[in-house]
């Protein structure tokens, strides 16, 4: 099989920004997020506006933390879960740089970062914003049932994270480097339950992790942590099982953003999901761990499921 892993020599993370809703703030990682709101409306009139507010915050904070001015940014690459990437497009009215909209379902966080990294590596760009957002209520409306609908959800269901995360990807040297990326294949696991996306995505996650390791001739323990986007409790178990069958034992250093963003006592079923899940955990918590040298090399695996057809794509981020 042809390789689909790309190495980068001069791609760095210059700044990050995260904004979250109340439930994410109350979770175990609450302290690592830059901004939070008291309720899901985020001081706005409706949920769509709330999601825009979150994304706007994340981008503004990311630019501020990078020490750059708006004028220095060459491009924004952003995506969300709403029809026509509406949230990203509306938010970018407030910024002077051009937008490249992307859709990758829950893989958007790493999809935008990967694209930004390839652009930076081409040397035609210096500073690119990679951003994404999701909101529990807008996603419920888009993909599932009205929020106040009384139909019960099974324990395998995931809970869309309300939040937004953004990074300034840059050719300026900083202490966090994006070293390589693997673009995932579409793997149809033949699952069709929108209330069980973890199992649908686990085969794709394992496929990309294995190809990443083979392409770079690495063993899993090269990384201090392999963190998946939103497989949740159910999907993580499936992933570890598949990896073990394939001869890779990653159980000791595998984490899942959807599992760690909420605590056991929060009413989130199997864990978090959505674009923002991987984005806020990576740009908030993982970035902190890298900066404080608690971790040195992290492999982030984000993947998305299309409700209805359930296919998956996943880009990978590794930092050295």
């Amino acid at each position: 099989m042809k390789k689909s892993t790309y190495k980068f020599n001069n791609v760095y993370i210059k700044g990050t920004g995260t904004a979250v809703g109340p439930l994410e703030k109350e979770g175990p990682l609450g302290a690592y997020f830059d901004r939070d709101y008291q309720d899901n409306y985020c001081e706005e009139k409706n949920w769509e506006s709330a999601e825009q507010r979150l994304l706007n915050d994340a981008i503004t904070i990311a630019i501020a933390s990078s020490g750059l001015k708006n004028e220095a940014i060459d491009l924004a690459i952003s995506g969300d879960l709403i029809n026509q990437n509406a949230v990203s497009n509306y938010v970018m009215r407030d910024f002077p740089f051009p937008l490249l909209g992307m859709y990758g379902a829950c893989s958007t966080a790493m999809l935008t970062l990967l694209t930004a990294a390839l652009f930076i590596e081409s040397k035609k760009f210096h500073h690119i914003i990679a951003a994404t957002s999701s909101h529990n209520s807008t996603a419920e409306r888009q993909f599932r049932y009205p929020t106040e609908y009384g139909g019960p959800k099974p324990e395998t269901a995931t809970f869309t994270v309300t939040g937004a995360g953004s990074a300034v990807v840059s050719s300026d040297v900083t202490n966090i480097r994006v070293s390589s990326a693997t673009i995932g294949r579409v793997i149809d696991a033949n699952q069709n339950d929108p209330n069980d996306m973890g199992t649908a995505m686990a085969p794709a996650a394992s496929d990309t992790i294995i190809r990443h390791l083979r392409d770079l001739h690495l063993t899993p323990n090269y990384y201090d942590m392999i963190i998946t986007g939103d497989l949740s409790k159910v999907g993580s178990k499936v992933l570890l099982d598949i990896m073990a069958e394939e001869g890779f034992d990653i159980s000791k250093f595998h984490e899942d953003c959807g599992k760690i963003i909420y605590s056991e006592s929060q009413p989130v079923f199997s864990g978090g999901s959505g674009c923002a899940c991987c984005a806020v955990v990576t740009y908030g918590y993982i970035k902190h761990l890298l900066e404080t040298r608690k971790l040195n090399r992290v492999l982030v695996v984000a993947k998305g499921a299309l409700t209805g057809v359930q296919t998956c794509a996943l880009p990978i981020w590794s930092v050295t």
Binding site: Y145, P146, T147, E148, I242
Partner: protein, 144 residues
């Protein structure tokens, strides 16, 4: 893709708690029924209504209560707890319409609330009408 993914997936997934779900649905659904019967008796005995009028008013009362609790954000928690016990009675139907209407509010009155209201209830109405048409025909042909 590996052929045995389904096997791996199967051995790692949770089985729904059929007995617990069935028992809770039976009790909660039953309690809603008892409450409706109580209302009906109240209207007949205290307000001296005819049986037909009392039953209609009982239905309307349940729909009203369901709509109010949906608006207050209570009914979806009951639904999560009781499952079919909360959505099979008429209160569940009212909840599906109210929740869809609430959701449509930000899209405007006509196409948001007006059209959105039937997003979930629409299929119930369609198949309800189709089923009653078929059963009505059978009854007319064979049991008249």
């Amino acid at each position: 893709m590996r052929k045995d993914y389904t096997k791996i997936i199967k051995r790692n997934t949770l089985k729904p708690k059929y007995f617990r779900n069935g028992a809770v649905a039976f009790v909660v659904g039953g309690l809603i029924g008892v409450f409706g019967q109580g209302l009906s008796d109240l209207y007949i005995n205290i307000f001296k209504m005819s049986k037909d009028n009392a039953n209609s008013l009982m239905t309307v009362t349940l729909i009203l209560l369901s709509a109010i609790t949906t608006g207050l954000g209570i009914y979806d928690h009951l639904g999560q707890f009781a499952g079919a016990g909360a959505f099979v009675p008429i209160t569940g139907f009212a909840n599906s319409m109210t929740s869809a209407a609430l959701e449509g509010k930000s899209e405007g009155i006509t196409l948001g609330i007006g059209a959105g209201m039937f997003k979930l209830a629409g299929s119930v109405i369609v198949f309800g009408v189709v089923a009653s048409y078929i059963l009505g025909t059978i009854r007319y042909l064979f049991f008249q």
